[in-house]
């Protein structure tokens, strides 16, 4: 038995771990207390990494769907040759746009896959690329595209006086919401240390979450009115003159128009709609504005709710009007170690509005951060059109569960001419696929943290080799994409190099090339067994460049103004109305981990406030029927006194293909497109959905 040091790649936190390896099996995983970032912390799913690799549901060979619907094993390189030929055929018939790719979280935590897949896709030449980003957090991209970005950097958590978390529960999700490293590493101890040095924490969440439990102020609203809450906070700050005039004068346009736009969001109006006591909102707004340092950060609760784009926009406006960014001459925030070290400047990068330029889909969707909104994928497949998607490659994702309107997604996937899933298990999506490619998993491959650096709060880097051998039938994801490219005669260029398509480089070489422009050599990082905390960057925030010095953040462009007006006018919940909210289970990462038998209940209970259960005469563990305007599911009721009355809380990413599956309820049966679907990113409402609840027969 040997102990091996590595880091977890189930989520972006990249926690350091020590694995106990015996006969090529990971017997146990414990947190590495010597890792400077995670300091011993791991989560339940991370500790079950060994089970994820070697558990019964792990796919150890690639599969091809047979005419009778069954799967037969296939060599992954043979599969790549067949898939490449079929893709070439389809593209030959219907053009490059008839091919699509959907990328998931598990691709994101694998640095080589991202770059090789992207290089291959560039050669395919299709715009039809999607990812899970546009079903949970693309509101942040929309804000950046419409407001612009301040390039001096956000204020950090380490020296903040106050922090406001909305719709995020980092003590469970290990993610403070905005990709700035807040409460991402060793979150509980980090929060405790911050509060001991005086940080005031404000949490906005309809549930008394693990994080809310630690808050100085917990605003517990009726879900679905985040835009109104943020508008209410802005209204207090601007009308009481608590904002940072100097920052606003220098960097923002539209502060007065913003003040007018939020003027209707009085504390009384916010209380009437959301149930947050007016006095508590005032207290929270004043505490935040007093600062002087600290930010609002938001999570999926805001980004997946109604009016998500303007809710995010208004949250960012709070940061802007309070000037919670690093000014010229302040130390620059720089976690870059392997990434190129770019200077921070006290300037604004203007709104890009990428979706208004260049290529548009036949459904009017433009390109957002290089991809199309996932919520248009079903239309792309099902609706007639010359560039209809006929072939879809799914990499490290389970869109059948993750996407809204689950029934329609299933119909769409069933109508494809070619569906390929690259997945470590026979997920709901993989079960529908023509080919399932079984990839290697983390701990079976080397990697480094370069692509995660942007979310680290400190200049930290770690490199790891494989700590167990992969099952012989598996293939590295990147190698599969390389093979597709080779078969389709597409050249691959990564890290500034053209690859020899007849002689693929080793993973080690590719990783070495990727890190070639960092400020610390990879060899030095690899020599630090517990990861390396690089010396802090000495750089300061530099003055604005001449080209950028006149740019301003656009706080209230015309389309945003209209959307704010619509959002603030929305009525509150009717008497006794219940609304769906979604939560993350501690043992599960998106759709991954549902098979751990010792985590949770093994199914997806619907949590109710005990008062609602009494009112509706629902018994603990009884079956309830939840119906939205989009669909209906039957779930098991559980009492949860931490909920605000009026909420029904379930976990995202559950449910089998069979609606009666014991695996649990897929909340995406309850979601879909309607008048509340957002512009730009086409996001429907995925949380805060009104529900009808009745006892199931």
């Amino acid at each position: 038995m040997v102990q091996k040091i590595s880091y977890c790649r189930i989520c972006q936190a990249s926690c350091g771990i020590i694995a106990n390896v015996e006969d090529n099996r990971i017997v146990q995983i414990v947190g590495d207390a010597d890792n400077p970032l995670s300091q011993g912390f791991t989560c339940p799913k991370g500790r079950r990494g060994g089970e994820l690799l070697a558990g019964p549901s792990r796919l150890t060979q690639s599969l091809k769907k047979q005419p009778d619907g069954s799967f037969a094993p296939i060599d992954p390189l043979v599969a790549a040759a067949e898939i490449g030929a079929r893709l070439t055929e389809i593209i030959g018939e219907s053009g490059a746009e008839s091919a699509g790719m959907f990328r998931g979280t598990q691709q994101a935590f694998n640095s080589l896959t991202r770059s090789i897949a992207a290089a291959w896709w560039k050669g395919v030449g299709s715009h039809k690329i999607f990812s899970t980003m546009t079903i949970d957090q693309s509101a942040k991209w929309v804000v950046s595209g419409r407001m612009g970005d301040y390039m001096g950097g956000r204020q950090g958590f380490d020296d903040a006086d106050v922090w406001m978390l909305a719709g995020t529960n980092p003590l469970i999700s290990v993610n403070g919401g905005t990709a700035d490293g807040v409460l991402m590493h060793n979150p509980s101890a980090s929060l405790r240390a911050a509060r001991e040095r005086g940080l005031k924490l404000i949490v906005i969440d309809p549930r008394r979450t693990e994080t809310a439990y630690q808050a100085d102020i917990h605003l517990m609203p009726v879900p679905g009115h985040d835009a109104l809450i943020f508008a209410g906070i802005l209204n207090i700050i601007l009308s009481e003159g608590l904002h940072d005039r100097e920052f606003c004068d220098r960097f923002a346009d539209g502060v007065e128009a913003l003040a007018d736009a939020v003027a209707s969001a009085t504390p009384q109006r916010v209380e009437a709609v959301t149930g947050i006591p007016a006095g508590q909102l005032l207290e929270a707004a004043r505490l935040f504005a007093k600062g002087p340092r600290g930010m609002v950060s938001t999570g999926t609760g805001v980004c997946m709710g109604p009016d998500s784009n303007v809710a995010e926009h208004l949250a960012t406006c709070i940061n802007v009007v309070c000037g919670r960014y690093r000014r010229e001459g302040e130390p620059a925030f720089g976690p870059a170690v392997m990434m190129p070290d770019l200077p921070a400047r006290a300037e604004v990068s203007p709104p890009a509005r990428s979706w208004e330029r260049g290529w548009r889909s036949r459904f009017g969707a433009g390109v957002l951060m290089g991809e199309l909104p996932s919520c248009t994928l079903n239309d792309e497949i099902l609706e007639p059109g010359e560039d209809r998607i006929r072939a879809l490659i799914v990499s490290g994702a389970n869109p059948l569960l993750a996407m809204p309107d689950a029934d329609r997604t299933r119909r769409a996937f069933a109508s494809l001419d070619l569906l390929v899933a690259i997945d470590t298990r026979l997920s709901e999506t993989a079960q529908m696929a023509d080919y399932v490619i079984a990839p290697t998993m983390f701990y079976e491959r080397g990697d480094h943290t370069m692509t995660m650096e942007y979310v680290f709060p400190k200049p930290y880097a770690m490199a790891t080799g494989p700590i167990v051998e992969p099952p012989p039938g598996t293939i590295d994801d990147w190698r599969f994409f390389f093979e597709l490219a080779r078969v389709m005669d597409i050249p691959i260029r990564v890290s500034g190099r053209d690859l020899d398509m007849d002689a693929p480089p080793s993973s080690e070489t590719l990783l070495q090339w990727a890190a070639g422009r960092g400020r610390v050599p990879l060899a030095e990082i690899a020599a630090a067994p517990h990861g390396l905390l690089a010396a802090p960057r000495q750089a300061k925030v530099e003055p604005a460049s001449d080209a950028m010095k006149d740019n301003r953040l656009q706080l209230i462009p015309e389309d945003v103004a209209q959307e704010i007006a619509a959002a603030l006018a929305r009525p509150g919940a009717g008497d006794g109305e219940l609304r769906l909210i979604v939560r993350r289970m501690r043992g599960i990462m998106n759709t991954l981990g549902r098979e751990f038998r010792d985590i949770g209940d093994g199914f997806n209970p619907a949590h109710f406030h005990p008062g609602d259960m009494a009112r509706l005469d629902i018994a603990e563990d009884s079956q309830v029927r939840l119906t939205s305007r989009h669909g209906s599911v039957t779930a098991v009721a559980r009492a949860d006194p931490t909920l605000r009355p009026g909420c029904v809380s379930l976990t995202h990413g559950w449910g089998g293909l069979d609606p009666a599956s014991a695996q649990g309820v897929n909340v995406n049966v309850l979601t879909g497109h309607d008048a509340l679907t957002q512009t730009v990113n086409h996001m429907p409402v995925l949380t805060g959905v009104p529900l009808m609840v009745e006892r199931a027969a």
Partner: protein, 534 residues
């Protein structure tokens, strides 16, 4: 946020090695471990990862925001412990988990008993990599769990979950079971030995120690072991029918068993709602006339034998009055004594300060008292007491209808094995009675310690067993599985295996009388066997 260890802590220390920051103390190699009542998580060092909660067999570890009102005191205990001891220096992370090795030699072991000491012995054997242990556990009763089922108080359901954890792990390890088969009655010690390399006796201490005073034979005098067996539905004691018609009951001794008995005697029906107390006991207690329970201690309050955790369970009872009959000076907070002693003294001082509210029921702690004799005309009417701190004081008479002696348990002799009459144990060295014959748990070391104490006790015994096996001192058994099965079948037809026990378990859970209740226990051998046989 931190995790907090609560009342059901079994001190088996499974949580300690999985903590990445070494914030659970004392560890097994720290000085006070042997004496400690429970383990504590350092709230300042905890990183809230929850690894300890997953490792805990009795679900004793919960996040602080999930603490119930009555469990809040355990967060205070932890704070007090670390305020006093400071933090121990970090040690390298230990790793558990030892997968079996297929090519190791086979070792056939029978374990007599299915209580915690038996289970820990089996689990320890399963983890050994130098042998491939084939284990059968033989239980005289038609039910699994020993004192977890029949000793742990019925309102301590979290502690009782230890049995579920044991059963799950043993089943996964391929351990087989033989229920309703008594060694010494159905199968002799010699016969058993002919079929296995080694036998581990984990038969516990079923009897209570005698008070050794006049009147002990009067009706109304009971040993705690029988009383506890009665309310837990032990088939041997289910028909006990103790006399609860008097106003006062006296418990001699103030260890955890005494505190359990007092809590059960004074509790309301609501207190027992979620418990699995045996139905006859539930009914009898509902009609009990007892209004006062006196707990007698031979020494002073600081020497109360029960743990702080059990004292706090009594202190949380809202609808009784509590009197702590001890001079205030003895309850004063000063720095003398161990952490546990001071914690108990402070809990007792809190109880002593609690105003009397005129509740119908009350609990009285008395100290420096020893029983002299029990008197009465055909049944218990009064207990005579002497003072242990004043030899010249006149005896005191305490009217009472029930005396429960809770001064310790005692092992019983088994034909074919040596027995130390004075200590009530099988004489052994580190668990070895003879090569091939071993003991663990209370029959090995005497009746002390909590569930988790048996883990290290069993490890020592298994060490001795493996050493004997390695040295060739354990000859291959003459009978194999088939021969043993034939022997068992010939002696009794109403024995059964794990499947039978699982049927009982399901049946009892399904027949719970309310949603809150875990199970409705079957209390007679005949009923248990009938359900097991399907």
């Amino acid at each position: 946020m931190t995790y907090v260890i609560t009342q059901s802590c079994c001190v088996d220390a499974a949580c300690v090695p999985v903590c990445p920051v070494d914030c659970i103390h004392p560890t097994t190699d720290e000085g006070d471990f042997a004496k400690v009542e429970m383990l504590y998580i350092d709230p300042v060092a905890c990183v809230d990862c929850g690894a300890c909660a997953e490792a805990c067999p009795v679900d004793a570890i919960v996040p602080d925001h999930g603490l119930t009102e009555e469990d809040r005191c355990f967060a205070d205990f932890a704070n007090a412990y670390y305020a006093e001891t400071g933090r121990a220096p970090r040690r390298p992370v230990l790793m558990a988990g030892r997968p079996e090795r297929a090519d190791a030699p086979e070792l056939r072991v029978a374990i007599v008993g299915t209580g915690p000491s038996a289970c820990y012995a089996a689990l320890d054997l399963l983890e050994r990599r130098d042998v491939r242990a084939e284990i059968i556990m033989i239980e005289r009763l038609p039910a699994f769990g020993g004192l977890v089922r029949y000793g742990v108080a019925p309102d301590h359901q979290r502690t009782k979950r230890a049995a579920d954890a044991f059963q799950r792990q043993l089943a996964r390890g391929g351990v087989r079971f033989l229920f309703n088969m008594e060694i010494g009655r159905d199968i002799s010690v010699a016969e058993l030995h002919a079929h296995f390399h080694a036998i581990i006796y984990a038969v516990g201490a079923p009897g209570g120690r005698n008070l050794g005073i006049a009147g002990e034979d009067l009706p109304g005098v009971l040993s705690a072991s029988r009383f506890v067996g009665w309310y837990n539905g032990h088939p041997d004691h289910a028909g006990l029918a103790p006399d609860l018609s008097g106003r006062r009951a006296v418990i001699v001794g103030n260890g955890n068993v005494a505190l359990d008995v007092a809590r059960i005697l004074l509790g309301s029906e609501a207190d027992l709602a979620t418990s699995d107390i045996a139905a006859p006991a539930r009914a009898a207690l509902a009609g009990s006339a007892i209004e006062e329970v006196v707990i007698l201690g031979r020494r002073g309050p600081a020497q109360t034998a029960g743990t702080a955790s059990e004292l706090s369970a009594l202190a949380r009872m809202e609808d009784i009055d509590i009197i702590v009959d001890a001079p205030p000076a003895l309850l004063d907070q000063d720095a003398s004594g161990s952490f546990a002693e001071r914690l108990k003294r402070s809990l007792l001082a809190d109880m002593a300060r609690r105003p009397l509210r005129g509740h119908r029921k009350r609990l009285v702690f008395r100290y420096f008292r020893a029983p002299l004799a029990i008197e009465g005309d055909g049944h218990t009417e009064r207990l005579l007491l002497s003072r242990t701190d004043d030899a010249d004081a006149a005896p005191e008479a305490l009217d009472c209808g029930l005396v429960i002696s809770s001064i310790g348990y005692r092992g019983a002799a088994l034909e074919g094995l040596p027995y130390d009459e004075a200590r009530g144990i099988y004489p052994n060295e580190g668990g070895r009675i003879l090569p091939g014959t071993y003991a663990t748990g209370w029959i090995k070391r005497g009746p002390s310690g909590v569930i988790g104490s048996n883990r290290r006790c069993a490890a020592e015994t298994v060490d001795a067993l493996i050493a004997d096996f390695g040295a060739g001192r354990l000859p291959a058994p003459s009978g194999d599985d088939a021969a043993f099965a034939a022997l068992a079948g010939a002696r009794r037809s109403d024995h059964f295996g794990l499947d039978g026990w699982e049927r009982i378990d399901r049946h009892e859970r399904a027949n719970a009388t309310s949603p809150a209740q875990v199970r409705a226990k079957l209390t007679s051998i005949a009923e248990l066997v009938a359900v097991a046989k399907g």
